[in-house]
């Protein structure tokens, strides 16, 4: 299959060898799990349990709310001790509603939905409903509800289901290990998803540095003629869905459009595996594989972790820190976000926990821009980071928006390459947040205006109605007076 080049990109030191040869191990069930109600993009789930309730493993504990949302299930059996505010694994450190589950140690399964015996004969809607009910979200990190993405096939004609096994972030090896150890499950899940989407072809794209994963996936896919496993060049950010689509099809996704508009839907390998478990066994998404790595971790590992485990327990499971970490990262080092503390739970979108030593972190002071233009050359989105940052620094967000700051995927290549250590991607994240806030405020004002107009119309109508009622009353009184007068005249 012919591959197409993608624009720009960088080649950071991958440091995957720290964890890549560590087989996936299961974490012993923690005593307490903290399951946040919002682990996905969209509306938070609504708790269906209260303190004191007993739950079984796999039982629904929070239902999905709204069109873009996902439910949560109990990762083990036990007792709900509270539904309360707990700090979220988010750079802000803000708290969010979280269900706290005390495990009883028995790990008893509750009643699960029937397995779909022959998913390829089942209607597409049955598969989508199962994926939605199982709480599956994009496990590459964005955590977008997968069932919503599977619905794209209804309006659009899809050609390819692209399974993203690029894993271009340095350090992370969880997708690599999942492909090596559970290749058949990933391929089966991908084929089921392609059936639900109505996509005739499945393409699994894996970066060329994961030879064993490529071999395992090729072997698992050998018997299916519509499934192709492809090695893509090692180039960050190959794992971005827009760039992977471009590498496979040669088509660039236009701004404000989806890859689905080009006939391609992208799902992560771990998501495919979760779909396999949900459809074939009726199991909701209760755990995920993630990488704990970094120079400060004593024994880096790939661990299958129940959702809701505190990060501190993972670190302890990996033998703790061998040196004081200078930074804790949730996700990969390029696009991951700083962790406020170890006292936060693992969620469905957590792909890795990194503890980096001072030598691995670049804390250099930002210097003046030397106009080298490297950031422009390497920007994979074809933007001009230096120019956008200059405008944002001067609070000219509208100009930055015109230059396309909202098309930035925040891959961080510009910040990584900048010889003056200017925090370029930080500027863009700030600008995108501010633009979104302005948009929210504008919508609120629009809404206020509509409400105020409706209020004025209502008052006017009420006044008219009152006047009409008064007139009618007066007329009636007059009639009565007339009638009385006539009667008297008659008498």
């Amino acid at each position: 299959m012919r591959l197409f080049p993608i624009r720009g990109g960088i080649h950071p030191d991958y440091r995957k060898e720290l964890a890549s040869e560590q087989a996936i191990v299961s974490l012993p069930m923690p005593a307490t799990l903290y399951i946040p109600l919002q682990q996905h993009i969209g509306a938070p789930a609504e708790a269906q349990v209260a303190a004191g309730d007993l739950v079984k493993k796999g039982q629904l504990i929070a239902r999905s709310q709204g069109a873009v949302s996902a439910p949560q299930h109990a990762p083990t059996s036990g007792r709900i001790s509270a539904v309360t505010l707990v700090p979220a694994p988010h750079p802000s450190g803000l708290a969010q509603l979280t269900i706290i589950l005390e495990a009883d140690g028995r790990d008893e399964w509750g009643e699960l939905p029937e397995a779909i015996a022959d998913p390829f004969a089942a209607p597409a809607q049955a598969i989508k409903d199962r994926v939605a009910a199982s709480g599956i979200v994009g496990m590459g990190g964005a955590a977008f509800p997968s069932a919503v993405k599977l619905n794209l096939g209804i309006q659009l004609k899809l050609d390819i289901l692209l399974i993203n096994g690029a894993e271009c972030e340095p350090y992370l090896t969880c997708d690599d290990r999942v492909m090596r150890e559970h290749a058949a499950e990933v391929i089966d899940g991908a084929r089921i998803m392609a059936h639900a989407l109505g996509a005739p072809r499945v393409v699994v794209a894996i970066e060329d540095n994961k030879r064993q994963a490529l071999a395992a996936m090729n072997k698992a896919a050998a018997e299916y003629p519509n499934v192709a496993v492809i090695a893509v060049p090692v180039q960050y950010p190959m794992g971005s869905e827009r760039h992977l689509t471009q590498a496979i099809t040669g088509l660039e996704t236009p701004a404000k459009k989806l890859t689905a508009d080009l006939g391609v839907v992208v799902h992560n390998v771990a998501t495919a595996r979760a779909v396999h478990a949900a459809v074939r066994f009726g199991r909701p998404l209760l755990s995920r594989v993630l990488t704990v790595s970094g120079g400060a971790v004593r024994n880096p590992k790939n661990i299958e972790v129940p959702i809701g485990t505190k990060v501190a327990e993972l670190v302890a499971f990996c033998g703790g820190f061998k040196s004081e970490p200078s930074r804790l990262v949730n996700g990969g080092p390029m696009m991951g976000q700083p962790l406020p503390s170890l006292d936060v739970p693992v969620v469905k979108g957590t792909s890795g926990i990194l503890a980096l030593t001072p030598a691995e972190v670049n804390d250099a002071q930002a210097g003046p821009c030397i106009r080298c233009g490297t950031c422009v050359t390497i920007c994979p989105c074809g933007l001009s980071p230096v120019e956008m940052a200059a405008f944002i620094r001067k609070d000219k967000l509208d100009v930055a928006a015109r230059l396309g700051v909202q098309d930035c995927v925040s891959c961080g290549s510009c910040s990584w390459i900048c010889p003056s250590h200017i925090p370029l991607v930080h500027y863009f994240n700030y600008a995108k947040g501010m633009l979104m806030e302005q948009n929210r405020e504008e919508r609120k004002i629009e809404r206020t205006k509509t409400l105020a107009e409706a209020h004025a119309i209502r008052l006017e109508q009420a006044a008219l109605a009152k006047k009409a009622a008064m007139d009618a009353k007066l007329a009636a009184a007059k009639d009565k007076a007339n009638a009385v007068a006539e009667e008297q005249a008659g008498a």
């Binding site: 919002q38 979220a88 988010h90 750079p91 802000s92 803000l94 969010q96 002071q365 930002a366 210097g367 003046p368 821009c369 230096v386 940052a389 200059a390 944002i392 620094r393 003056s420 200017i422 925090p423 930080h426 500027y427 994240n429 700030y430 995108k432 947040g433 501010m434 979104m436 806030e437 302005q438 929210r440 405020e441 504008e442 609120k444 004002i445 809404r447 206020t448 205006k449 409400l451 105020a452 107009e453 409706a454 209020h455 004025a456 209502r458």
Partner: protein, 179 residues
């Protein structure tokens, strides 16, 4: 020579007079800028700016009597659009943006007098005589008119809390570097 000067003078006087009359007769009654500015304001006539309704605030803005930060519930977004329209640079740093607010009714203190309902120009308060009232958060735009009329101080103004979905990164603090 005299004829030329005389005829030109007469023409000047006649045309000048004509223009003068036309200016009086065909005068534009309202400043069109006012209408445009009014459209940018929330239009709920809450009165927090100190003017009687959004129309008068727009008039003051058009005359340059009011700063672009005149509208408290409009916040930063309105101030910026107004500044852009009027071609002035809004000094938003001096403007104390207390952030969006919403009204909250303490259920225990509400006596169901319906005074707040009558004040609310966006129909964000639900309730009836001698029944407890409640504010619909999504509809409230924090104008605080209800807050002022409540006889039992049952209404308090709360800040719209920062959530995971509204939080965003702050502007990077880079020293005096040029880039």
């Amino acid at each position: 020579m005299l004829v030329a000067v005389g005829s030109l003078t007469v023409m000047g006087v006649a045309l000048g007079g004509l223009l003068g009359i036309a200016a009086r007769l065909l005068a534009v009654e309202e400043n069109p800028l006012e209408e445009e500015l009014k459209a940018m304001l929330p239009g709920s006539n809450c009165g927090q700016c100190g003017y009687v309704g959004c129309a008068l605030a727009a008039a003051a803005l058009a005359k340059g009597e009011a700063p672009v930060t005149v509208c408290p519930p409009g916040g930063r977004a309105v101030a910026e659009t107004l500044a852009k329209k009027l071609g002035v640079t809004a000094d938003l740093s001096a403007h104390e943006d207390k952030g969006p607010e919403y009204a909250f009714i303490e259920e225990d203190l509400c006596i169901g007098c319906t005074r707040c309902i009558k004040e609310c120009t966006v129909d964000a308060i639900v309730g009836a005589t001698k029944q407890m009232h409640v504010v619909i958060n999504e509809a409230c735009h924090g104008c605080a008119k209800c807050f002022k009329v409540c006889p039992t101080d049952a209404i308090k103004m709360c800040k719209v809390p920062l959530t995971l979905s509204t939080w965003h990164w702050a502007k990077p603090e880079v020293g005096q570097t040029l880039h």
